[in-house]
């Protein structure tokens, strides 16, 4: 109402870097490894990076949704493990019961995703209705999922996924052998030793579709807007009539759903299920969200930037490996980048909400 009041001015450089430094960092990182690691800048290593990153990408999106509301979900890693186990157990049981293999795989996947909602619904109920802090609620759920998983597999690991699942999980969309046209889905029958170019892993395509849908939901729907409002100001959201408790329940359920999906992709890729399959991925997922610029206090963060954060980690991991540098150096670097990201988020502030900015 006072015309003379000014929006705080940012210097142009800081304003420019505010939303972009992570992307710039990623590019520099890739350029660095192009010189440092033999064979890093190839289609093949890009595919490897995406293929083995699938679970972290999915968990990072799960974590982002919860973080946007100002919460945190520590249980996603062990929900992944739980889902990897039960998907195999269910498929195995269905095949044993005489159902066809494709039908068993389909039914097992759907059943796992439905069961996979349960831990999230419990988390959401604890957080929204019983007001248990998200850290505590999901930390407890981590333990419960771990314990139940070990009980199901009796402390070893789950096996028995049919070969078809492994073919899907490790297959590609396109294949190209010399002197033959492109073939979809099926590896061409050629002499042993003939180089076959395999392009676009199936699992990566599936994950990409799901991630794009979640990006759309967060950015363009009323539901997504409500999550930002809840994270920005819980009071404002309540008073604006947003069904805050229902939204929080839904967000933990979605997180759990994505973690279960990641568990199913794990079972398809590795044809085994382990309780701790996703244990070490939790920290990567949280780190990706934070490097992507989301505040742990909620209200900020986008799927696109979270994916850039996840790629920063994936490139670092693969690049160091290919350069023959020990992996524990990676942990130190990840720690350093994480701190850098949080400092950058503080000193390179954005005048606009990332969502509005991206849409301009």
């Amino acid at each position: 109402m006072n015309d003379k009041e000014k929006v705080p001015r940012k210097s142009t450089l800081r304003g420019f870097l505010g939303g972009r430094w992570v992307a710039i960092f990623l590019v520099l990182e890739i350029v660095f490894f192009m010189f440092k690691s033999q064979g890093f800048a190839t289609v093949n290593s890009a595919q490897i990076l995406l293929f083995y990153g699938t679970q972290v990408f999915l968990l990072a999106v799960a974590e982002l949704f919860v973080v946007v509301t100002g919460g945190i979900d520590l249980s996603v890693g062990y929900i992944l493990g739980f889902a990897s186990i039960i998907s195999i157990k269910i498929v195995d049981a269905l095949v044993a019961a005489g159902l066809s293999v494709p039908a068993s795989i389909l039914a097992g996947t759907v059943a796992t995703l439905v069961i996979g909602l349960v831990p999230g619904l419990v988390n959401g109920w604890l957080v929204a209705w019983l007001r248990v802090p998200p850290f505590i609620a999901t930390f407890s759920m981590l333990g419960v999922c771990h314990g139940v998983s070990e009980l199901v597999i009796n402390g070893v690991y789950a096996m028995g996924m049919p070969q078809l699942a492994a073919d899907i999980g490790n297959g590609n969309l396109l294949y190209k052998a010399p002197h033959l046209p492109f073939i979809f889905f099926r590896r061409p029958e050629v002499e042993r030793g003939t180089p076959v170019l395999a392009l676009i892993p199936n699992i990566v395509v599936a994950a990409a579709i799901v991630i794009l849908i979640f990006a759309f939901v967060l950015r363009r729907t009323r539901f997504g807007r409500h999550l930002y409002a809840i994270g920005g100001s819980m009071d404002a959201a309540v008073r604006a009539g947003i069904p805050v408790r229902r939204r929080i329940l839904q967000v933990y359920a979605l997180s759990s759903f994505l973690a279960s999906l990641a568990g199913v992709t794990y079972a398809f890729m590795y044809v085994s299920g382990k309780a701790d399959a996703g244990a070490s991925l939790l920290l990567d997922a949280i780190a990706a969200v934070m490097i992507g610029g989301a505040s742990m206090f909620g209200g900020t963060g986008t799927v696109g930037r979270t994916m850039i954060g996840a790629l920063v980690l994936a490139v670092l991991d693969l690049g160091l490996r290919m350069a023959g540098i020990a992996t524990f150096d990676k942990y130190i670097l990840v720690g350093a980048i994480l701190v850098l990201a949080v400092i950058a988020a503080r000193y390179l502030p954005e005048a606009q909400h990332p969502v509005s900015e991206d849409r301009k």
Partner: protein
Amino acid sequence: MNENASGYLLETREIVKRFGGLTAVDRVSVGVRPGEVLALVGDNGAGKSTLIKLISGVYKPDEGSLLVQGSDAHIESPRDALEAGIETIYQDLALAENLDVGANIFLGRERIKRRLGLFRVLDDAAMAEEAKSVLDRLDIRIPSLRSVIRTLSGGQRQAVAISRSIYWKAKVLVMDEPTAALGIAEQRKVLDLVRTLRDQGIGVIVISHQMYDVFEVADRIAVMRRGQLVGERLVRATDPDEIVGLIVGSETVTKR
């Protein structure tokens, strides 16, 4: 008998709210008529804020009822209150600081459009346009509607909060300390805005500590002390001394 003989747009009847052993609001009956400004005054902890939270659906009353235009309003949540035409502007304004002006005006009631006849997506363009028109109507200038609330001044934030209420065609507007955080010029503008709203037939309830504001803008004053309503006066039939006396509960200045 006419249920609404008093002509109140909104009234509380014997409303009670307890927090554990503390009775924050104790059998309060108070109302506001269309085109009237009711000032709600009282010392800190007198129960004013609790009362307006009851009115706006944030708290559920333990006893008593809330009537809109003479009939029971069944307000159980903030959404019910909004649907009954009761808009509340809190002291902290209740804006989502991470969202832009348009998003805040439409918070919880977002405009949507259909994409491909299937997906319901936010219609940000329409929301920004409507936000601009309501701000223009109130002669409020904000550098960019894409600015997030965090970057705006106190006065601009207050303006956004008021615009939001007006946009949604409030019947009753409740304002908690609307001028507390503002500079002099902005205070005057907010008081002008309150008078404009009253002239449009809206019932306005204002909580204020500023005796000047109260006498400047209110038609009637309700005084609360320790959760109870201790007096109601028409502004033209009282003076600041008497109101202060009622607020602090001093016998010597209580004349009536």
